[in-house]
Protein backbone atom coordinates (compact mmCIF):
# COMPACT_ATOMS: atom_id res chain seq x y z
CA UNK A 1 0.00 0.00 0.00
CA UNK A 2 1.28 3.48 -0.85
CA UNK A 3 2.01 5.50 2.31
CA UNK A 4 0.90 9.08 2.90
CA UNK A 5 4.50 10.19 2.59
CA UNK A 6 4.80 8.49 -0.78
CA UNK A 7 1.60 10.18 -1.96
CA UNK A 8 3.07 13.55 -1.04
CA UNK A 9 6.23 12.70 -2.98
CA UNK A 10 4.14 11.66 -6.00
CA UNK A 11 2.17 14.91 -5.87
CA UNK A 12 5.44 16.87 -5.79
CA UNK A 13 6.60 14.86 -8.77
CA UNK A 14 3.34 15.62 -10.59
CA UNK A 15 3.93 19.30 -9.94
CA UNK A 16 7.40 18.99 -11.45
CA UNK A 17 6.01 17.13 -14.48
CA UNK A 18 3.46 19.91 -14.99
CA UNK A 19 6.03 22.70 -14.62
CA UNK A 20 8.53 20.99 -16.91
CA UNK A 21 5.85 20.28 -19.52
CA UNK A 22 4.66 23.91 -19.41
CA UNK A 23 8.20 25.25 -19.80
CA UNK A 24 8.97 22.80 -22.62
CA UNK A 25 5.75 23.71 -24.44
CA UNK A 26 6.16 27.50 -24.13
CA UNK A 27 9.79 27.17 -25.17
CA UNK A 28 8.80 25.12 -28.24
CA UNK A 29 6.19 27.68 -29.30
CA UNK A 30 8.58 30.60 -28.81
CA UNK A 31 11.67 29.08 -30.41
CA UNK A 32 10.28 26.87 -33.17
CA UNK A 33 7.10 28.54 -34.34
CA UNK A 34 7.78 32.28 -34.50
CA UNK A 35 4.66 33.56 -32.64
CA UNK A 36 3.25 37.08 -32.68
CA UNK A 37 4.69 38.76 -29.56
CA UNK A 38 4.99 36.87 -26.28
CA UNK A 39 2.46 34.01 -26.21
CA UNK A 40 3.19 33.20 -22.53
CA UNK A 41 0.12 34.89 -21.01
CA UNK A 42 -2.31 33.53 -23.61
CA UNK A 43 -0.93 30.01 -23.24
CA UNK A 44 -1.15 30.29 -19.45
CA UNK A 45 -4.87 31.13 -19.85
CA UNK A 46 -5.34 28.03 -22.04
CA UNK A 47 -3.85 25.79 -19.33
CA UNK A 48 -6.70 26.80 -17.01
CA UNK A 49 -9.56 26.05 -19.42
CA UNK A 50 -11.96 23.39 -18.23
CA UNK A 51 -14.84 21.48 -19.82
CA UNK A 52 -18.22 20.99 -18.16
CA UNK A 53 -19.84 17.81 -19.39
CA UNK A 54 -23.59 17.92 -20.18
CA UNK A 55 -26.13 16.98 -17.51
CA UNK A 56 -26.70 13.21 -17.54
CA UNK A 57 -29.76 13.00 -15.25
CA UNK A 58 -31.69 12.06 -18.38
CA UNK A 59 -29.05 10.41 -20.57
CA UNK A 60 -31.31 10.15 -23.61
CA UNK A 61 -29.78 12.32 -26.34
CA UNK A 62 -26.59 13.09 -24.43
CA UNK A 63 -24.19 11.90 -27.16
CA UNK A 64 -24.92 14.75 -29.63
CA UNK A 65 -24.51 17.17 -26.72
CA UNK A 66 -21.09 15.74 -25.82
CA UNK A 67 -20.18 15.72 -29.51
CA UNK A 68 -21.14 19.39 -29.84
CA UNK A 69 -19.18 20.30 -26.72
CA UNK A 70 -16.02 18.46 -27.81
CA UNK A 71 -16.19 19.84 -31.37
CA UNK A 72 -16.74 23.40 -30.11
CA UNK A 73 -13.78 23.04 -27.75
CA UNK A 74 -11.59 21.75 -30.60
CA UNK A 75 -12.66 24.56 -32.95
CA UNK A 76 -12.13 27.15 -30.23
CA UNK A 77 -8.64 25.87 -29.37
CA UNK A 78 -7.67 25.68 -33.03
CA UNK A 79 -8.85 29.23 -33.69
CA UNK A 80 -6.97 30.60 -30.68
CA UNK A 81 -3.80 28.64 -31.47
CA UNK A 82 -3.94 30.04 -35.01
CA UNK A 83 -4.31 33.58 -33.67
CA UNK A 84 -0.92 33.29 -31.96
CA UNK A 85 0.89 33.18 -35.31
CA UNK A 86 0.91 35.12 -38.57
CA UNK A 87 1.45 31.90 -40.46
CA UNK A 88 1.26 28.33 -39.22
CA UNK A 89 0.67 25.04 -41.03
CA UNK A 90 -2.18 22.64 -40.22
CA UNK A 91 0.46 20.12 -39.13
CA UNK A 92 1.93 22.51 -36.55
CA UNK A 93 -1.53 23.60 -35.31
CA UNK A 94 -2.45 20.00 -34.53
CA UNK A 95 0.89 19.45 -32.78
CA UNK A 96 0.36 22.56 -30.63
CA UNK A 97 -3.21 21.43 -29.81
CA UNK A 98 -1.91 18.03 -28.65
CA UNK A 99 0.91 19.59 -26.62
CA UNK A 100 -1.59 21.94 -25.01
CA UNK A 101 -3.77 18.99 -24.07
CA UNK A 102 -0.82 17.26 -22.41
CA UNK A 103 -0.05 20.29 -20.27
CA UNK A 104 -3.70 20.81 -19.25
CA UNK A 105 -4.08 17.11 -18.39
CA UNK A 106 -0.95 17.15 -16.22
CA UNK A 107 -2.24 20.32 -14.57
CA UNK A 108 -5.60 18.65 -13.89
CA UNK A 109 -3.93 15.50 -12.46
CA UNK A 110 -1.83 17.60 -10.12
CA UNK A 111 -4.74 19.73 -8.94
CA UNK A 112 -7.09 16.77 -8.37
CA UNK A 113 -4.61 14.61 -6.45
CA UNK A 114 -3.40 17.55 -4.37
CA UNK A 115 -7.02 18.45 -3.53
CA UNK A 116 -7.77 14.96 -2.21
CA UNK A 117 -4.52 14.80 -0.25
CA UNK A 118 -4.84 18.23 1.36
CA UNK A 119 -8.54 17.71 2.18
CA UNK A 120 -7.77 14.38 3.86
CA UNK A 121 -5.02 16.01 5.90
CA UNK A 122 -7.05 19.09 6.79
CA UNK A 123 -10.09 17.13 7.90
CA UNK A 124 -8.00 14.28 9.35
CA UNK A 125 -10.21 12.14 7.16
CA UNK A 126 -8.17 8.97 6.61
CA UNK A 127 -10.75 7.14 4.40
CA UNK A 128 -10.40 9.95 1.88
CA UNK A 129 -6.78 9.00 1.35
CA UNK A 130 -7.75 5.44 0.34
CA UNK A 131 -8.94 6.25 -3.22
CA UNK A 132 -5.78 8.27 -3.65
CA UNK A 133 -3.65 5.33 -2.52
CA UNK A 134 -5.33 3.18 -5.13
CA UNK A 135 -5.27 5.74 -7.93
CA UNK A 136 -1.84 7.31 -7.59
CA UNK A 137 0.22 4.54 -9.29
CA UNK A 138 -2.07 4.74 -12.36
CA UNK A 139 -2.00 8.55 -12.36
CA UNK A 140 1.81 8.52 -12.15
CA UNK A 141 2.12 6.00 -14.98
CA UNK A 142 -0.10 8.08 -17.26
CA UNK A 143 1.61 11.32 -16.25
CA UNK A 144 5.05 9.92 -17.05
CA UNK A 145 3.73 8.77 -20.44
CA UNK A 146 2.18 12.18 -21.16
CA UNK A 147 5.38 13.98 -20.22
CA UNK A 148 7.47 11.68 -22.43
CA UNK A 149 4.96 12.06 -25.29
CA UNK A 150 6.06 15.68 -25.78
CA UNK A 151 9.29 14.69 -27.57
CA UNK A 152 7.55 12.67 -30.30
CA UNK A 153 4.94 15.40 -30.72
CA UNK A 154 7.51 18.15 -31.11
CA UNK A 155 9.47 16.05 -33.63
CA UNK A 156 6.34 14.99 -35.54
CA UNK A 157 7.16 11.29 -35.03
CA UNK A 158 4.55 8.50 -35.11
CA UNK A 159 3.37 7.28 -31.70
CA UNK A 160 2.25 3.78 -30.72
CA UNK A 161 -1.40 4.86 -30.98
CA UNK A 162 -0.75 5.57 -34.66
CA UNK A 163 -0.46 1.91 -35.65
CA UNK A 164 -4.12 1.79 -36.85
CA UNK A 165 -3.70 4.76 -39.23
CA UNK A 166 -0.30 3.34 -40.28
CA UNK A 167 -1.84 0.00 -41.26
CA UNK A 168 -4.64 1.63 -43.25
CA UNK A 169 -2.39 4.43 -44.60
CA UNK A 170 -0.14 1.75 -46.10
CA UNK A 171 -3.16 0.32 -47.93
CA UNK A 172 -3.98 3.78 -49.32
CA UNK A 173 -0.62 4.36 -51.06
CA UNK A 174 -1.00 4.68 -54.84
CA UNK A 175 -4.78 5.16 -54.47
CA UNK A 176 -6.61 8.43 -54.79
CA UNK A 177 -7.47 10.08 -51.46
CA UNK A 178 -10.40 12.38 -50.77
CA UNK A 179 -11.28 14.41 -47.70
CA UNK A 180 -14.49 12.95 -46.27
CA UNK A 181 -14.88 14.92 -43.04
CA UNK A 182 -12.74 17.25 -40.92
CA UNK A 183 -9.14 15.95 -40.91
CA UNK A 184 -10.34 12.56 -42.20
CA UNK A 185 -9.61 10.89 -45.55
CA UNK A 186 -11.21 8.15 -47.61
CA UNK A 187 -9.60 6.03 -50.29
CA UNK A 188 -11.07 3.26 -52.42
CA UNK A 189 -9.22 0.15 -53.51
CA UNK A 190 -9.89 -3.48 -54.36
CA UNK A 191 -8.91 -6.80 -52.87
CA UNK A 192 -9.80 -10.15 -54.50
CA UNK A 193 -12.87 -8.72 -56.22
CA UNK A 194 -14.09 -6.92 -53.08
CA UNK A 195 -14.36 -3.14 -52.91
CA UNK A 196 -12.43 -1.63 -49.98
CA UNK A 197 -13.34 1.69 -48.39
CA UNK A 198 -10.29 2.81 -46.43
CA UNK A 199 -10.76 5.49 -43.78
CA UNK A 200 -8.25 7.19 -41.49
CA UNK A 201 -7.39 10.55 -39.96
CA UNK A 202 -5.54 12.84 -42.34
CA UNK A 203 -1.81 12.45 -41.80
CA UNK A 204 0.73 13.54 -40.98
CA UNK A 205 -1.31 15.80 -38.66
CA UNK A 206 -1.48 15.01 -34.95
CA UNK A 207 -5.18 14.17 -35.12
CA UNK A 208 -7.60 11.28 -34.73
CA UNK A 209 -9.92 12.83 -37.33
CA UNK A 210 -13.72 12.67 -37.15
CA UNK A 211 -14.31 9.04 -38.01
CA UNK A 212 -17.94 8.88 -36.87
CA UNK A 213 -18.89 11.76 -39.14
CA UNK A 214 -16.84 10.22 -41.97
CA UNK A 215 -18.60 6.85 -41.68
CA UNK A 216 -22.00 8.59 -41.70
CA UNK A 217 -21.12 10.45 -44.92
CA UNK A 218 -19.67 7.39 -46.65
CA UNK A 219 -22.83 5.40 -45.82
CA UNK A 220 -25.00 7.78 -47.79
CA UNK A 221 -23.20 6.63 -50.98
CA UNK A 222 -21.74 3.22 -50.14
CA UNK A 223 -23.17 0.57 -47.85
CA UNK A 224 -20.45 -1.83 -46.74
CA UNK A 225 -21.15 -5.49 -45.92
CA UNK A 226 -18.47 -5.57 -43.24
CA UNK A 227 -16.60 -3.04 -41.12
CA UNK A 228 -13.10 -3.80 -39.84
CA UNK A 229 -11.59 -1.45 -37.26
CA UNK A 230 -7.86 -1.41 -36.49
CA UNK A 231 -6.67 0.29 -33.33
CA UNK A 232 -4.03 0.29 -30.62
CA UNK A 233 -5.25 -1.20 -27.36
CA UNK A 234 -3.91 -0.98 -23.83
CA UNK A 235 -2.37 -4.32 -22.90
CA UNK A 236 -3.23 -6.07 -19.71
CA UNK A 237 -0.42 -6.77 -17.24
CA UNK A 238 1.34 -9.92 -18.40
CA UNK A 239 0.38 -9.51 -22.06
CA UNK A 240 3.11 -9.03 -24.65
CA UNK A 241 3.67 -5.64 -26.22
CA UNK A 242 2.86 -5.46 -29.93
CA UNK A 243 0.80 -8.67 -29.82
CA UNK A 244 -2.20 -8.74 -32.15
CA UNK A 245 -5.71 -9.66 -30.99
CA UNK A 246 -8.89 -10.02 -33.00
CA UNK A 247 -12.46 -9.69 -31.86
CA UNK A 248 -15.93 -8.28 -32.38
CA UNK A 249 -17.20 -4.73 -31.96
CA UNK A 250 -15.94 -1.22 -32.57
CA UNK A 251 -12.30 -0.84 -31.55
CA UNK A 252 -12.05 2.80 -30.60
CA UNK A 253 -11.07 4.70 -27.47
CA UNK A 254 -11.64 8.35 -26.68
CA UNK A 255 -14.74 10.01 -25.31
CA UNK A 256 -17.07 7.62 -27.16
CA UNK A 257 -19.05 9.85 -29.51
CA UNK A 258 -17.42 8.62 -32.76
CA UNK A 259 -17.73 5.03 -31.59
CA UNK A 260 -21.41 5.65 -30.80
CA UNK A 261 -22.01 6.99 -34.32
CA UNK A 262 -20.30 4.00 -35.96
CA UNK A 263 -22.10 1.47 -33.73
CA UNK A 264 -25.40 3.21 -34.42
CA UNK A 265 -24.98 3.03 -38.20
CA UNK A 266 -23.78 -0.59 -38.07
CA UNK A 267 -26.73 -1.61 -35.87
CA UNK A 268 -29.34 0.16 -38.00
CA UNK A 269 -27.95 -1.50 -41.15
CA UNK A 270 -27.14 -4.92 -39.60
CA UNK A 271 -23.49 -4.70 -40.54
CA UNK A 272 -21.03 -6.75 -38.50
CA UNK A 273 -18.02 -4.96 -37.00
CA UNK A 274 -14.77 -6.86 -36.53
CA UNK A 275 -11.77 -5.50 -34.65
CA UNK A 276 -8.03 -5.98 -34.80
CA UNK A 277 -6.01 -4.44 -31.97
CA UNK A 278 -2.30 -4.11 -31.36
CA UNK A 279 -1.55 -4.34 -27.64
CA UNK A 280 0.72 -1.83 -25.93
CA UNK A 281 1.29 -0.04 -22.63
CA UNK A 282 0.09 3.51 -22.12
CA UNK A 283 3.70 4.69 -22.35
CA UNK A 284 4.17 2.91 -25.69
CA UNK A 285 0.85 4.28 -26.97
CA UNK A 286 1.78 7.91 -26.30
CA UNK A 287 5.50 7.97 -27.12
CA UNK A 288 7.42 7.27 -30.36
CA UNK A 289 6.32 3.97 -31.89
CA UNK A 290 8.53 1.06 -30.84
CA UNK A 291 10.16 -1.15 -33.47
CA UNK A 292 8.05 -4.09 -32.28
CA UNK A 293 4.80 -2.21 -32.91
CA UNK A 294 5.96 -0.74 -36.25
CA UNK A 295 7.03 -4.22 -37.42
CA UNK A 296 3.49 -5.50 -36.86
CA UNK A 297 1.94 -3.28 -39.55
CA UNK A 298 2.45 -5.84 -42.35
CA UNK A 299 1.18 -8.72 -40.16
CA UNK A 300 -1.97 -6.73 -39.36
CA UNK A 301 -2.53 -6.15 -43.09
CA UNK A 302 -2.30 -9.91 -43.65
CA UNK A 303 -4.82 -10.46 -40.82
CA UNK A 304 -7.18 -7.95 -42.46
CA UNK A 305 -6.93 -9.82 -45.78
CA UNK A 306 -7.71 -13.10 -44.03
CA UNK A 307 -10.69 -11.51 -42.28
CA UNK A 308 -12.00 -10.22 -45.61
CA UNK A 309 -11.66 -13.65 -47.27
CA UNK A 310 -13.32 -15.43 -44.35
CA UNK A 311 -16.21 -13.03 -43.85
CA UNK A 312 -17.20 -11.67 -47.26
CA UNK A 313 -17.96 -12.85 -50.78
CA UNK A 314 -16.61 -11.41 -54.04
CA UNK A 315 -18.41 -8.22 -55.18
CA UNK A 316 -19.07 -7.21 -51.57
CA UNK A 317 -17.80 -4.02 -49.94
CA UNK A 318 -15.62 -3.78 -46.82
CA UNK A 319 -14.92 -0.64 -44.85
CA UNK A 320 -11.56 -0.61 -43.05
CA UNK A 321 -11.05 2.08 -40.45
CA UNK A 322 -7.62 2.93 -39.02
CA UNK A 323 -8.29 4.38 -35.58
CA UNK A 324 -5.77 6.50 -33.68
CA UNK A 325 -3.58 9.56 -33.80
CA UNK A 326 -1.94 9.73 -37.22
CA UNK A 327 0.95 12.01 -36.21
CA UNK A 328 3.86 11.56 -38.61
CA UNK A 329 1.96 9.02 -40.72
CA UNK A 330 0.78 10.11 -44.14
CA UNK A 331 -1.30 8.02 -46.56
Amino acid sequence: MVSSNEIKKSIDKLEKFRNDAKAEFVNYVKKSLNPLGDPGKKLEDFFEYFTIMPVDLDPNGIVPKINHLVRSRDDFTKMHVKSLFTEISEFEITKVQNLLEIVTTLQMFHKATRHLYLTAKKQKNLPLILPLQMMIPFVMEESQALKDAMTALKNGQPIGDGIGPMVVGGMMIEHEKQKVSFQTVLSESEFEDRKLLLVKAEGPNATVGRLGEAVEKIFSANKPDLIIMVDASLKLEGEDSASIAKGFGAAMGGIGTDRFQIEDIATNNSIPILAIVIKQSIHEALTIMTKGIADQASSVRSEIQEMIRDNTQPKQTVMIIGVGNTLGVSQ
Binding site: Q144, T151, A152, N155, G156, Q157, P158, M166, G169, G170, I173, G203, P204, T287, I288, M289, T290, K291, I293, A294, D295, A297, G328, V329, S330, Q331
Partner: protein
Protein backbone atom coordinates in the same frame (compact mmCIF):
# COMPACT_ATOMS: atom_id res chain seq x y z
CA UNK B 1 13.70 7.96 -11.55
CA UNK B 2 17.43 7.25 -11.55
CA UNK B 3 16.94 4.36 -13.98
CA UNK B 4 14.80 6.38 -16.36
CA UNK B 5 17.37 9.17 -16.35
CA UNK B 6 19.97 6.80 -17.77
CA UNK B 7 17.72 5.75 -20.65
CA UNK B 8 17.35 7.65 -23.88
CA UNK B 9 15.55 6.92 -27.09
CA UNK B 10 17.19 6.90 -30.51
CA UNK B 11 14.80 7.43 -33.41
CA UNK B 12 15.22 5.63 -36.72
CA UNK B 13 13.65 5.89 -40.16
CA UNK B 14 13.25 2.79 -42.31
CA UNK B 15 13.04 3.35 -46.06
CA UNK B 16 12.22 0.95 -48.88
CA UNK B 17 13.03 1.34 -52.56
CA UNK B 18 9.80 1.32 -54.59
CA UNK B 19 11.57 -0.42 -57.49
CA UNK B 20 14.06 -2.98 -56.13
CA UNK B 21 12.50 -3.22 -52.60
CA UNK B 22 15.89 -2.71 -50.97
CA UNK B 23 15.42 -1.68 -47.35
CA UNK B 24 17.65 0.68 -45.40
CA UNK B 25 17.49 2.17 -41.92
CA UNK B 26 19.06 5.46 -40.87
CA UNK B 27 18.73 7.92 -37.98
CA UNK B 28 15.49 9.94 -38.01
CA UNK B 29 15.77 13.35 -39.63
CA UNK B 30 13.43 16.27 -39.00
CA UNK B 31 10.70 16.28 -41.66
CA UNK B 32 10.63 12.49 -42.12
CA UNK B 33 7.04 11.28 -42.55
CA UNK B 34 5.83 7.71 -42.97
CA UNK B 35 4.60 6.94 -46.53
CA UNK B 36 6.31 9.94 -48.06
CA UNK B 37 9.11 9.62 -50.60
CA UNK B 38 12.55 10.63 -49.45
CA UNK B 39 15.55 10.40 -51.77
CA UNK B 40 16.59 7.78 -54.30
CA UNK B 41 17.99 4.29 -54.07
CA UNK B 42 21.77 4.12 -54.48
CA UNK B 43 21.47 0.80 -56.31
CA UNK B 44 18.70 1.29 -58.87
CA UNK B 45 17.91 5.02 -58.61
CA UNK B 46 14.28 4.21 -57.71
CA UNK B 47 12.35 6.40 -55.26
CA UNK B 48 12.73 5.59 -51.57
CA UNK B 49 9.56 5.46 -49.50
CA UNK B 50 9.61 5.89 -45.72
CA UNK B 51 7.80 2.81 -44.40
CA UNK B 52 8.52 3.04 -40.66
CA UNK B 53 9.72 5.49 -38.06
CA UNK B 54 10.46 4.01 -34.65
CA UNK B 55 12.35 4.57 -31.44
CA UNK B 56 14.67 2.26 -29.57
CA UNK B 57 15.49 2.77 -25.92
CA UNK B 58 19.21 2.67 -25.18
CA UNK B 59 20.61 2.01 -21.70
CA UNK B 60 19.03 0.53 -18.59
Amino acid sequence: MKDADKKFTVSYTNLECKSCKKSLTRKFESGDIVFEENGTCDECDGNLLIVKIFGEVIGQ
